[in-house]
Amino acid sequence: MTKKVRDGMSSLLKITDLHVSVEDKPILHGVSLEIRQGEIHALMGPNGSGKSTLAYTLVGHPKYEITGGSIEIDGTPLNELDPCERARKGLFLAFQYPVTIPGVKVSDFLRHAVTNVRNPERKDGESLIPMREFRKELKQKMEELGMDTEFARRYLNEGFSGGEKKRMEILQLAMLQPKFAILDETDSGLDSDAVRVVSEGVRKLSGPQMGVLIITHHERLLEYNVPQFTHVMLAGKIVETGDAALAHELHNHGYAQIRERHPAEAAEEQSRQNRPETVGVATAVAK
């Protein structure tokens, strides 16, 4: 383990024995995880192991029902909070499948988002952050991420390529500066140039003020953002936690050894795959 930020000032995202069901089907079976500001955690695991379920549960997707355990930031429970309140407490999810919002300009969307996250007590209809100040900041952040400022005038994710959508998530991350960022397969479906751009973006943004949970199948994102902790998920549980070397090992050898070391979870995984229905993970969105 390289560095740890354990000073008293840093915030803590604490997940304790989390059980989650989707449409009455249990998916997570007691996940515990602690992420401090400044730390980078990788979450790996085969398809269907529950990684995205954890991400959606953290952000407050209404379909994901917490049946046990808790999510807290600095001791404040999040379980009952809606996604808006969680965002205002400093939680951010870079979506695996960012949705399109037709007719809503990126700049208008971001101005609302930034205003709300920076003024957690804001009520609907109260004034937004001043336009000049906002534009200046947006322009600067877009330049830092090598984005054409023309993007600000486009409609949110409408007609965006896969890479552009992921970059838009990173731009939001840059503007919102959350305490905790969850990146759900931000590197999937991208060509290698796009993966590099996104990975560098995350590296620039993460720092002592941000705790990051990187959900990935691949190692590339982790080369740019070396995790202090790597967690492996199997059948709705975190079965192993290690350091960057564990991520490397999984990348080279796959999950066969993990399954051998955790036969009970491997069996559970097997029985899940034999279920007739697939697990209800939200994917693309009906327009």
């Binding site: 209404p62 969680r86 037709p102 809503v104 988002a113 709300n116 609907d124 209809g125």
Partner: protein, 471 residues
Amino acid sequence: MSTEAPATPEVGVGDYQYGFHYGTEDYVFRGRKGIDRDIVKQISQIKKEPKWMLDFRLEALDIFFQKPMPKWGGALSELDFQDIFYYVRASDKQETSWESLPDDIRKTYDRLGIPEAEKKYLAGVKAQYESEVVYGSLQEDLSNKGVIFTDTDSALRDHPELFREYFGTVIPSADNKFAALNSAVWSGGSFIYVPKGVQIEFPLQAYFRINSENMGQFERTLIIVDEEASIHYVEGCTAPTYSSESLHSAVVEIIVKRNARCRYTTIQNWSNNVYNLVTKRAMAYGDSLMEWVDGNLGSKLTMKYPAIYLMEPGARGETLSIAFANHGQHQDAGAKMVHCAPHTSSRIISKSISKGGGRASYRGLVKVENNAHHCKSNVVCDALILDSASRSDTYPYIEVDQDNVAIEHEASVSKIAEEQLLYLMSRGMTETEASAMIVTGFIEPLVKELPMEYAVEMNRLIELQMEGSVG
């Protein structure tokens, strides 16, 4: 296409901020309720009209009594024609300064922001309060160029030839029951003549205000845009919220001559006790452009299908329509395009939103007459339904008597996807804010066509509609 679900009563309704009224009790004239020949004669007499107009009114009244209530569209069974005031006059003359108006009327318009808008971005204003226009202005350079912008009663008196040449030629009294009613009891409205080649840069605006309970407002508007002239006319309308119904039944006739342009923008925001049953029609001649921009946010029931008759080759017609139906509202709105000549083109874009048990219907007609070859028409209707209590219907009618035409029709109905809400909420937006943003985006392709001040107003009204509980 019809999407229907059982109604649930417990749905929040956005605040209607124009529901106030200042008590005007000392009306200059207020007839009795109900409609008959005496009332019509009385109106004509008070207005000191020529005999031909009285005859026109009485003939229209007969047609009104003869025609049955429409069986289609919205529910009209509760509309009681005998429980309405047909003519109410709050001020004895039209003023040219706001200060000269009676206090309660001036306060009303101040609160609606009309004098302020006039200073900032309007070329002229008419304000109608109950049955009569109480305030009028027009920039001096426009009147010097021969532009006429007056109330319709004054036009009958001051420009009798021009008036008689066009009045009732676009919409005859027998067109429909409500056109006949308007023809019988009309009062107020705008009369505009734009001379040849005169382009009016800033909008002319009329503001219609109903103030008393059980009021019927029947303004009559006539706009003539001469060759190569152009105009943008805007109307707004509001009323106090009462428990009993009021009726607004206007007739708007427009003539757009060769190479001229006319854009008519409506931001209709009546309170939820107003029946809004309006007939609007334009005739567009060679190479002219007529555009209706029709925003319907208020009223209990609106039935309105602005029409464009494309009379000569090269005429173009366009209708952009936005309807928002909230709790207790039915917006039955749409457009009519009638291709009477070859090489004419039309476009209808309709966006409707229904929320809180509201019902929005698109009802449209594209008609191509026998000789009208090489016509093009494009119709796009999109409906957004915000909750399962609300309803959206589409009734597109196409009548084509000619093979050589290109007609396209697209329609979509969508709901706000859970994933869209989640996405916006996960960026710190409340559910209301997120829904409002999605709705604003939905109508953005139309709103961006409006001048900035109206676009801002439209978005603000939509946000107000979105307040309160969602879904």
